[in-house]
């Protein structure tokens, strides 16, 4: 508990150029990821969770600007020279994507896509890269690795593709894996396999994971800690069981309301009444206020600070006490 965090994000803000104006997709986000920890980032579409993830290594379209601090291995990745950043990307921090069918280059065999990673970040020679590629496919559970290495993505099934992508991402033994909705595009049974694979690999390789999802079930199954994002901000964070067991933010509560408490079928977030605000028109005060059943005048005028409620659990809600009380009633 006292160990230094592997990744420390402070006041991360990401803005996009809209020609006439700029909007902030991520506002003043701070969190830590401990070594070996799996942190879940959860939120609705457009909440900024994916942008947050991509901002960490600045994988953003041109016109995007990142400010704040992303402290990794004692260096601030925000403002790191492109050349140094390139070493971090793939070598120390890897990323996997939601849709393996589009994230794998369709015209290159898997081998090339793994080996280019090894080539960029390791000193392995050709034979070494070959061997390592095969080991990686074995590692992620792709049978007949030697043969499949020379196949193209379209020759793989959906789950195998995701495994291949993980193998590629993990090729150079990164210390941190950023997983952007890694299971959304997969069948339910395959989802479990992939999530278990990620957890196994975390243990095996001793890395940290930041997992972006909109699926609270995935969070519950996989993560150690979680952060809930809404309109570009973290509105609640903490250990998975405290947050899910005693949500302190009305939004989290709303999200939980959509998850069947019992039953094996995992579903995604049910919509809460209304829609998230447009990034260019975020209301003053609490951004969630217009959709919140607890909202009072203060919510519409003053933005709540993220404050600790219990040990390692914080929420940005003026009415967190009321929310915490509410759960027992509604459940």
């Amino acid at each position: 508990m006292t160990a230094a965090p592997a990744l420390s994000v402070r006041n991360l803000t990401t803005t996009f150029d809209l020609g006439a104006s700029r909007v902030a997709a991520v506002r003043d986000v701070s969190f830590d990821v401990m070594p070996g920890e799996v942190l879940g980032l959860v939120g609705e579409s457009g909440s900024g969770k994916s942008v947050t993830l991509r901002s960490l290594t600045r994988l953003l379209p041109s016109g995007a600007e990142v400010s704040g601090q992303v402290i990794w291995q004692g260096r601030n990745l925000v403002g790191l020279a492109p050349k140094d950043l390139r070493k971090v990307r793939g070598g120390e921090i890897s990323m996997i994507f939601q849709e393996p069918a589009t994230a794998l280059n369709p015209v290159l065999p898997i081998r090339v896509q793994i080996e280019e990673n090894l080539r960029a970040h390791t000193t392995l020679d050709r034979a070494g890269r070959r061997r390592r590629s095969q080991e990686l496919l074995d590692l992620v559970g792709i049978p007949d690795a030697a043969r499949r290495l020379d196949e193209y993505p379209h020759q793989f099934s959906g789950g195998m593709r995701q495994r291949a992508m993980i193998a590629i991402a993990l090729a150079s033994a990164p210390r941190l894996l950023l997983a952007d909705e890694p299971t959304t595009a997969l069948d339910v049974t395959i989802q479990d396999q992939i999530l278990n694979l990620i957890l196994d690999l975390r243990d095996e390789l001793g890395m940290s994971v930041v997992l972006v999802t909109h699926d609270l079930g995935v969070i519950a199954q996989t993560c150690d800690r979680m952060a809930v994002m809404y309109a570009g901000r973290i509105v609640e964070e903490g250990g998975v069981s405290p947050v899910l067991g005693h949500p302190a933010h009305a939004y989290t509560l709303g999200l939980l309301g959509s998850v069947p408490q019992a039953g094996t079928e995992r579903t995604v977030l049910r919509s809460i009444e209304g829609t998230p605000p447009a990034l260019s028109a975020i209301p003053p005060g609490c951004a969630f206020a217009p959709r919140c059943v607890f909202a009072t005048d203060i919510c519409r005028t003053r933005a709540p600070e993220l404050v600790g409620t219990t040990e390692g659990h914080a929420a940005a809600c003026h009415h967190s006490a009321m929310v915490r009380h509410q759960l027992g009633v509604s459940a």
Partner: protein, 286 residues
Amino acid sequence: MTDLPADVPADAPARSARRRALPAALIGGTVILGLSLILAVFPSVFAPYDPLAFDYGAILQPPSPAHPMGTDNFGRDILSRVIHAYTIDMQIAVLGTIFPFVFGTAVGAIVGYLGGFAETIFGRIVDVVITFPFLVLVIAIVSVLGPGLANMYIAVGLVGWVFYGRIVAAEVKVQKQLDYADAGRVMGYTHSRIVFRHLLPNSITPAIVYWMTDMALIILLGSSLGYLGLGAQPPAAEWGVQIAEGKNFMTTAWWIAVFPGAAIVITGLGFSLLGDGLAEVLRARR
């Protein structure tokens, strides 16, 4: 499967950024083509002279206040001819390409989806059409039907569609591999629904981009055929024919060819902006 749309990575702001940027191309293209359309429909309102009226007293006059674009070897006012040519040239651009675009795209989508035997047959047809000398075809059609623009449409129609067909077929073939097409099949959609509602919208962008280029190219083809005497018939004002007429005066009376040429450039720019704009809209929708 999902109630909420899955969060597309890093996309929400980037996408809206593009949505804000695309009107520039779209608006530009639409404005140019809108103005062109107005000129095409009401040429007489804007043209100062009768485009066909000779004036032996004003032969080969350089641009002046009386004739802002000068006059040709018959003393005809170039400005008026350029304006009146909008009627014919907008017609050429649209009529000459609409059939190839629609037919070629449809055929290409079907061929790309079916693959196999259909693709083989299509390949043979493409070979025949493309390898057959275009000029033999044009001259044959002109000889059988008599000279005029309609023949150009027919000749271009016979040949042009295979370009769209090949572009779309290649694209559909790739799209077909993606999961959503499988999903469509699994969900029991009809073939035509999969092709035209799912595969085509995702494959049509390059065809549209090519189409807009094609519209400028076909006006130029009119010019080339005018050079060979197979396009619009004199004395009709048409840019291609005007440029062909001005060819011998390039050193002595540049204005005969240059202004119609500028009209082609501007109109072509309109089409290409529109094409880019449409392509961006389609991409953003995807």
